[in-house]
């Protein structure tokens, strides 16, 4: 009698345990269904491919640098290092950029002049918006009224004046030079800027955005202030 009771309990507990474990499995790792359709998957694939090609080109550049180091290390390590320093300066915007690009002129809107409205300075918000728009189209180098935009550039209002890198931007008209990698990119940027609603935003502020034709040799001025560096420390000589 006692034995059969135990066997019954064992069987029931086995079933209970199994059910508990299945429930635990289901609650802990819910099965997520892939609900993307073919186009969504294709889009993601395209994104990954783009990343892939970008990484490949980066790898190529780095390999070129190492190759250069290897070649030059016997001749002159100093030259190789200087080369890298120049490259880094170029990337960060400490050197002048000469290459394909376009020049955008911000000028007062004719209509506003005709009806005698005062032309105010460009507001920092509008300028930031324009810079973001330009950067969205893969700009390599940008300067606003001769002030180069680098990673740490601040566009803000100081005592009612709009400043870039803490230097005042003059009243319209002034120019914005944009450098890109190829002339094709410059053409693309021209078209995209023409199509973008940013021009209308300028018109609200009584300004007009004159986007110059893409040219082969736009000059973007260098960043002429010192770059503060918080994270890298100079290694003492001899170490």
């Amino acid at each position: 009698m006692k034995k059969t009771v135990y066997i019954r309990f064992t069987f029931i507990l086995l079933v209970v345990g199994f059910m508990l474990a299945v429930q635990y499995n289901t609650v802990q790792n819910p099965e997520t269904r892939d609900t993307r359709d073919v186009w969504a998957i294709r889009q993601e694939l395209a994104k990954e491919k783009l990343l892939h090609s970008e990484l490949l080109s980066e790898v190529r550049i780095l390999e070129e640098t190492t190759g250069k180091y290897e070649n030059m290390i016997s001749d002159s390590p100093k030259a190789a290092l200087n080369d890298t320093v120049e490259q880094l300066k170029k990337e960060i915007g400490l050197t002048e950029f000469v290459g394909p690009g376009l020049t955008i002129t911000v000028e007062p809107a004719m209509e506003s002049i005709a009806i005698g409205q005062t032309i105010d300075e460009i507001s920092p918000d509008l300028l930031i918006r324009l810079i973001n728009e330009i950067n969205r189209f893969k700009a390599q180098a940008v300067d606003v009224d001769g002030k180069r935009i680098i990673y740490s550039s601040a566009i803000r209002d100081v005592n009612g004046n709009t400043t870039v890198n803490n230097l005042e931007v003059k009243r319209a008209p002034f120019t914005i030079n944009v450098g890109v990698t190829t002339v094709e990119d410059a053409k693309k940027m021209y078209n995209q800027l023409e199509a973008s609603p940013i021009g209308d935003e300028f018109f609200i502020d009584n300004l007009r955005l004159a986007i110059g034709d893409p040219v082969n040799d736009v000059i973007v001025s260098a960043f002429d202030q010192s770059v503060s560096n918080e994270f890298l420390l100079e290694t003492p000589e001899g170490e």
Partner: protein
């Protein structure tokens, strides 16, 4: 004594190792079935301790309760009324009552043994 415990461990490990998962829609059915099973189990333990245990009642109760609970949940889903809450409530109350009775019986036994020794 150790045989039922072994069964429980075996069942849990079997379930975890096979990594069986059920679709999300049936999750509430399983949870209610687990509750029904636990209720029957504690009912059985109580009956055993009170010496009124009947094999047929226990085994039929186990399967019948599970089926009833699942049927209630099914009906609830189709009627738009959370009927499974009724099952959870009933089983929950019975579970507590059964466990309370088991505790009392064990306490009585323990104190009796103490007096005897």
């Amino acid at each position: 004594m150790w045989l039922p415990l072994l069964g429980l461990i075996l069942g849990i490990s079997l379930g975890l190792l096979t990594e069986i998962q059920i679709p999300e829609v049936y999750e509430s059915y399983l949870s209610i079935a687990v509750l029904a099973a636990l209720d029957t189990l504690f009912g059985g333990i109580r009956a055993q301790l009170q010496r009124v245990y009947d094999d047929k009642v226990f085994v039929s109760g186990f399967f019948f309760n599970i089926a009833l609970a699942a049927a209630l949940a099914f009906l609830g889903v189709h009627l738009g009324v959370d009927l499974y809450l009724a099952a959870i409530f009933a089983f929950g109350v019975r579970l507590f009552q059964n466990i309370a009775v088991i505790r009392r019986i064990l306490l009585t036994k323990w104190s009796e043994r103490k007096i005897n020794s």
